[in-house]
Every structure is written in C-alpha cells, then in structure tokens.
C-alpha cells in the first residue's frame, strides 16, 4: 500500500514537483537567511573570539558591546593587577582612526594597541611577518582582507587589478607615519573595517589626545582560581565590569538583538519563507489529495482503513519533506561554498539544520493534516458517483 501511495504521489509530476519546490524554497530560506544572520552575529563579537589568550575582559561598567568604547584611566590597570587571583593584566587600546593611504584617500580603520612588552591581544594568525615586528619603529600589522580590499589602491591602468598593500608600505594615521610590517588573518568584523595592530604606546600617539585612553584590560585568572570568582572579585574590588570571554560575547550578542533591526529583518525573511513554503506546499499537497479523493474513496470502499490511508498520506508528506529539505539545505550549502571567499557573512552551524528541519516538518505536518482530515471524512460511497 505504501508503494501505491508513492506511485500516486509521483504519478502527478506537476504537483509532486510543485510541493517539492515549495518545501525546497522554505528550507532554503530557513537555512540561508539564518546562516547569514549567524555569520553577522559572529562577526559582531569576532574581535573577542580572535583574542585567545586572555580569559577576562575588564571595562567601564557602561560598555554595552565590544565596539562601545568607554575609555578608562591607565591607573585602572594597576588596580586590576592588584586583585587577588589575577595572574596578569594587560592594557588594550581599541579605537577608530582614519588612515591616509599613499594615494591620498582616507579609510577608517580599527586600531588595536597591544601591551608593548608582551603584545598580548595580538591577531589570531600571521599571514606575513611576525608579531614581534611590531617593536620596530612606526610598525603596524594589518589584516590581510583589509589590505587587499579597503586599503588597496585603485588600479594603475583602467580595468587592471587593484594594488594591494605590501610589507614596507607606509600609511599616515593622524599625521603619524605607520609602516606595514606584516599581515594577519582575522575574522571579519561586522562593518568589515580593516584592523591595524600596533603597540599600546604607539596607538596612543596615533590617536587624538584624550585624558583616558585605555579601552579594555585583558586579564588572566591564576590557574588555581575559578574564572567566575576572579571576575566577580575584579568587579567588586574595582567597580569595573569584568566578563569572561563567553560573557562578553553574550553581552555583545544581546546588544545586537535588542538594539539593531538585524534580528527582526532576518526573522521576517525566515517567517516569510516559512509562510510562502507552507502556502505553496500545503495548498499543492491539499490539491493533490483533493484530486485523488475518488482514488482514496475506491481504496476505502475496498476495505482500506483510515489508519492505513493516514499512514499513506504521512508517507507521501514525509517523502516530499525529506526531498525538499535536502534540496534546500543542499542549496544553502552550495551558496555558502560559492560565497566562501567573499565579504558575505555566512555561518552554517548544525543547529540551523535542526531549525530548518523542524520548520519543514511543521509545513509537512500542516499539509498532511488538512489532507488527512478530508480523506478521513470521505464517504466511500463517493465511488458510485459518476
């Protein structure tokens, strides 16, 4: 009987493909859009995740997310170092500065100033040069994507390739000379601005003078101390906000959820995908069942139970659901693969597969339910109507 159910479904090519297309569309939208959303959200705290060494971030209590810089006085660093359980604490400068390119154009960059002695807070991976090269005069390390894109210069000849920055090139930061000594590979930030690393003292020279220049204090808990206890102790002792890496990522994530329209925009897209997919697949599936009512009536008249008909319809819904889901997820993966080297934010974690799977299951359940209702209520005597 299951074979009959499948043959009935596949025999009506137009409707069969229509249902699959609807489900594929829904599955695609329910994975592709959230994947871009997750990609964007991960970029929002990529600066935190890129810094592996410190496990405590200390900042002004009013800071709402990682780019919301409320500078501290340098003396706060010594107060944090004095808290029991802190193995070490280092300063970090983070600010936006305009870089003047060799061709005279300006580009806003994220300038990160690392502790002069230890260079704690440096980039996650060097592509060219060494982190220690930052100790050379006027040295900066630039993230490779920024060097290739926003900090590159227009082609010398029309239609030619853009001229990328290379080691030894110079920039101007607030009228100060900066020499490129290396390139790093960073996770893109949400605004995809180039990231320039330098030392803390040099960053303070690059930046316009202010009374407070210290953006964050990066700290490490002593090995015999619990991270939670040390962060609590720093907060209680200094009056500053101290977060573990995960906590600070959460603070940034929540800020995005609450204060930007990004989640709503993506939520609307996903909802529309779900509704349109449900409408197409549900309506087509229902129409398929309605057109086959006589066939279901014949089966009923011959002695097929409602329970068997229900299982036949569920099998049909499951089959189209699995094919539609597979195609949608496959297309999303293909999209991600095609966009892997572009600026597009895209991250496809396992839980999006689950999310989309649940969405497609709901659509199929809805489609099957309205069809089953019709078939269950069908009088088998309908077979005698000509």
């Amino acid at each position: 009987m299951y074979r009959i159910a499948l043959k009935m479904l596949m025999g009506d090519r137009g409707k069969y493909l229509g249902i699959i297309m609807g489900l594929t569309f829904a599955s695609l939208i329910m994975t592709q859009q959230p994947a871009i959303f997750v990609g964007l959200i991960m970029r929002s705290y990529s600066f935190i995740t890129d810094l592996g060494l410190p496990d405590i971030w200390v900042m002004d209590p009013e800071v709402q997310w990682v780019d919301d810089i409320k500078p501290l006085q340098d003396t706060e660093l010594y107060r944090v170092r004095g808290v029991a359980g802190v193995a070490w604490a280092m300063p970090l400068y983070k600010g936006l500065l305009k870089a003047r390119l060799p061709n005279g154009m300006f580009q806003t960059c994220i300038v990160v100033g690392l502790d002069d002695a230890t260079l704690v807070g440096g980039p996650p991976r060097m592509v060219e040069g060494r982190l220690a090269d930052l100790r050379r005069a006027d040295a900066v390390i630039i993230d490779i994507d920024g060097a290739r894109e926003k900090l590159s210069q227009p082609p010398a000849v029309p239609g030619g390739k853009r001229v990328e920055l290379k080691v030894g090139d110079t920039l101007e930061l607030n009228d100060h000379r900066a020499v490129v000594v290396g390139f790093s590979k960073n996770t893109r930030t949400i605004l995809s601005q180039p990231v320039l690393y330098t030392t803390y003292s040099r960053a303070k020279q690059f930046a316009p003078r202010e009374r407070k220049m210290l953006s964050f204090i990066l700290a490490k808990a002593a090995s015999d101390e619990s991270l939670a206890a040390v962060t609590r102790r720093i907060g209680a002792t200094t009056g500053l906000a101290a977060y573990s890496r995960e906590e600070f990522m959460g603070v940034t994530f929540r800020y995005f959820l609450k204060n930007t329209g990004i989640p709503i925009n993506f939520g609307v897209s996903v909802m529309l995908g779900f509704i349109v997919g449900a409408a197409i697949a549900g309506q087509t599936f229902y129409s398929f069942t309605r057109e086959n009512l006589r066939q279901f009536g014949v089966l009923k008249a011959m002695g097929t139970s409602n329970w068997m008909l229900l299982r036949m319809i569920l099998l049909q819904a499951t089959l189209v659901g699995m094919i539609g889901y597979g195609l949608g997820v496959g297309l999303t993966s293909l999209f991600g693969w095609a966009m892997r080297n572009t600026i597009l934010a895209f991250k496809f974690p396992w839980y999006l597969l689950l999310f989309s799977g649940i969405g497609v299951t709901l659509i199929c359940a809805f489609a099957a339910l309205i069809s089953i209702r019709r078939v269950i209520r069908l009088e088998p005597a309908v077979v005698f109507k000509s």
């Binding site: 009959i4 002695g303 097929t304 009088e379 005597a381 077979v383 005698f384 000509s386």
Partner: protein, 237 residues
C-alpha cells in the same frame, strides 16, 4: 422463497434518508429484497430511484437509516468499523461505471490492490494479477497504464480487480454504460462467465436494457422501493 442460508443478501424494510428537516431526502423507503447466492441480479429503474443507494448499503459502504440488511448472514450496520472493513475487503468486489482505476498504477498493479489490502505480499499479488488479467484477455497489457487502454480494456481490468480476491459478492454500478454495444456485451459475457464460475453473486445496477438478457432476475425500482422482481426482461415491458 429461498432458505436463509442460500441468500447472499437479504434486505427487509430498508430506509435511507439523507439530510435533515426540510432538506431531508428519502432515497430508500422500505426496500425488501433477497439476492440468492450464485445469482446475477440486476437493479433497474429511473435515475434517482435508489438503485445506487441500495447497492451501497449491500456493499457495506453506506449504513441504512432503518431496516435490516444482511450480507451472507452478517448484519453489516452493527459490525464494528474494522470488522466491517475486513468483511468488505474479503467478501465484496466492486466494478464501477467510471472504472475508477488508479491512473498512476499499471493494469497489474491496479488488480493487486484488493490483495494488498488483504495483506498479501506484493510479489505474490502481482503474480496472481497477471494470471487474472490473462483470464480477462489482457495478458499482454499487464504493464499498461489505464490511460493507455481503451474503455473496454479498462473495464476488464476493473473486473479483474473485482474478482482477484475471490469475493462472494460483486456489486457493479452501470458497468456497460460507458461502452459501445459490442464491448458492453463482451464485458457482460466476461462478468457472467468469470464471476459466476465460482458461484459468486452479482448485483448489477444498470440502465442498459441491452444487457438484461444476462440477468437471472431483475428487480425494478421506483421512488425508493422495489416495485417488482421478474425473471425475464420481457416481463418488464
């Protein structure tokens, strides 16, 4: 009158109404009719006289509002649903005016349906379907889809489907009305020959006077009642 054990169908005071209140329509109003085992009984009468409602009740796919209908001694209306389904699956075969073959299944697959409903395995059912199709003269068309068959061939597939599980009662609704005279005649010969070969009972609803000659008895209906039962079509005129 035949003894009860010789009766395939026994209807007493059958009443069937549709709707309620002012919209109520009475399709059967006190039908008394016996159909003997092994008999080919035809139900004739004008449109709307209740013929189709009567065979629907006999086949157990419609419950009467009042009265008693026993099929091989079984009171179908008072059977539990699953028992009624099982009874229908084992004992009743159907032949419809519009054939009602599943359009996406081949002729052989269509014929297997009653066996599959009765739990027979697919391979075995297909093997038997091919044998039965051979019997109805369609041995070479087992893999054809209904759309690739003529009306007469489709009806022969429907007949094969109606007899494959060897039911004791076959109900046919206008089996020849969509066919030309010659094909209709052949179909009736087939029905009479194959279906009756094993002492099966046939109840055929028809308007087609050309096939009356195949009937053992003819029950004439009018306005929801059986008005008379004759053994020869000439007695109708």
């Amino acid at each position: 009158m035949a003894a009860d054990q010789d009766l395939a169908v026994s209807c007493r005071g059958l009443l069937k109404t549709y709707g309620t209140g002012e919209a109520m329509v009475t399709a059967l109003q006190g039908v008394d009719l016996d159909v003997r085992q092994g008999e080919l009984m035809m139900l004739v009468g004008p449109s709307g006289c209740g013929k189709t409602t009567l065979i629907s009740v006999m086949a157990g796919i419609l419950d009467q509002s009042e009265g008693d209908c026993r099929v091989f001694g079984q009171d179908l209306m008072h059977l539990r649903n699953h028992a009624k389904l099982a009874f229908r699956a084992r004992n009743i075969g159907f032949v419809f005016q519009a054939y009602n073959l599943l359009p996406t299944l081949t002729a052989a697959e269509n014929v297997t349906v009653p066996l599959l409903i009765n739990g027979v395995g697919r391979k075995e059912a297909l093997k038997k379907a091919e044998q039965v199709l051979e019997q109805v003269g369609l041995g070479t068309r087992t893999r054809s889809l209904p759309s690739q068959l003529s009306g007469g061939q489709q009806q022969r597939v429907a007949i094969a489907r109606a007899i494959i599980h060897e039911p004791r009662l076959i109900v046919c609704d206008e089996p020849t009305s969509a066919l030309d005279h010659e094909t209709g005649h052949k179909v009736m010969e087939l029905l009479k020959g194959i279906a009756m070969g094993r002492d099966r009972t046939l109840v055929i609803v028809t308007h087609d006077a050309r096939i009356f000659e195949f009937a053992d008895r003819i029950a004439e209906m009018d306005d929801g009642r059986v008005t008379r039962v004759v053994t020869n079509s000439s007695q109708l005129h």
